[in-house]
Symmetry: C2
Subunit: 189 residues, 2 copies
Amino acid sequence: MDRRIEKSRQAIMDAFTKLMLEKDFEKITINEIAELANVNRGTVYSHYVDIFDLLNQCIENHLNKLFENCQPRGSDNSISGKDSLCKTFTYLEQNAFFYSKMLMSKSITAFRNRLHALMVKSVEEQLDMNGINTDVNREIMVQYFASATIGVIEWWITNSMPYSSEYMAEQLLSLMERYQNVTDPLTRS
Amino acid sequence: MDRRIEKSRQAIMDAFTKLMLEKDFEKITINEIAELANVNRGTVYSHYVDIFDLLNQCIENHLNKLFENCQPRGSDNSISGKDSLCKTFTYLEQNAFFYSKMLMSKSITAFRNRLHALMVKSVEEQLDMNGINTDVNREIMVQYFASATIGVIEWWITNSMPYSSEYMAEQLLSLMERYQNVTDPLTRS
DNA sequence: TCACATATGTTGATTAATGAACAAAATCGA
DNA sequence: TCGATTTTGTTCATTAATCAACATATGTGA
């Protein structure tokens, strides 16, 4: 692809993310973004229909990074459970500022919704892979694990990460292991 | 000016400077520069005729920064003598890696030549401003001060800056003050 | 409430950057 | 030495980015 496109998108996204960290979403203008990205205002419009589109794509990018970054490395999924979960929390820790902003912002429900949707999908895939059979309704179980995981993450982030990522990984894992082989809901196939 | 031009020039210059620091000038290719700058090879040729042109403009940029950075701030030139000279050495210290490379490179005489030329010009301007009248030949005096200053700088840089920039400024100033009011040869009007 | 400023989208002409292709020169390795 | 590879410099059609100029909408302070 034409490298100009990549450069422009990157510059705009970086500028937007930077502005998100230092002010409320409602206060951010396209003018500001274009100025900070050192890009013509028209270029912003050529890539994103409006600022909400920009927000959604920004959320998408970050969440994709989160889920991608936390894939188990090794071919054996059994051992990588704790490792990948630990990596997940470490990644969250490194980007805590961003996720904290996103989770605490009242106006941005899009982020929570998208995170929840991705988590649900991830849990479903995990269940399919490990083939768990219980008498609990599958749909409910998915919601249960997804919400539980997100709840722990949200609490951890918004409370300034009071425990280490490794400790969090251990705790969450032991909670999940009580339900057999559901290891890392963040892991997608 | 079209901001695309500025961006491309900056990216190319940054890439070239970076490569200069980590390998010999002779080993640097246009391909490398374009790749590191993330720019089409043709773009490099549209801004610079060849790699020597690129080198010269790079030298010019850095030396301009050096001389600009060392202008006396205050309106009264009398006090600013030591301050600006100290700033000069501090600036050199911060960019020591680059200047050391440039001064030590056997193949690049262009840098030394250009530095010498700018220094001569600067000393001449200083002499004109302070209106020194001695029986010493003006031309010879200019060469004397220029070479003396460059010699000190070169020794300081290539010997890993054994003294602080403030100490260097003091010493050089006291040497120059023996010839009346010639303060900071690096200062241009 | 009403100017006044700022932000939002849109349009169109212009321009710089792009990728691909090319021939020629230089470099390298065997 | 010779063949293969890389680099160099150039050309050209295509395309994304630019700037300027709009009209409209949205605040914001007096």
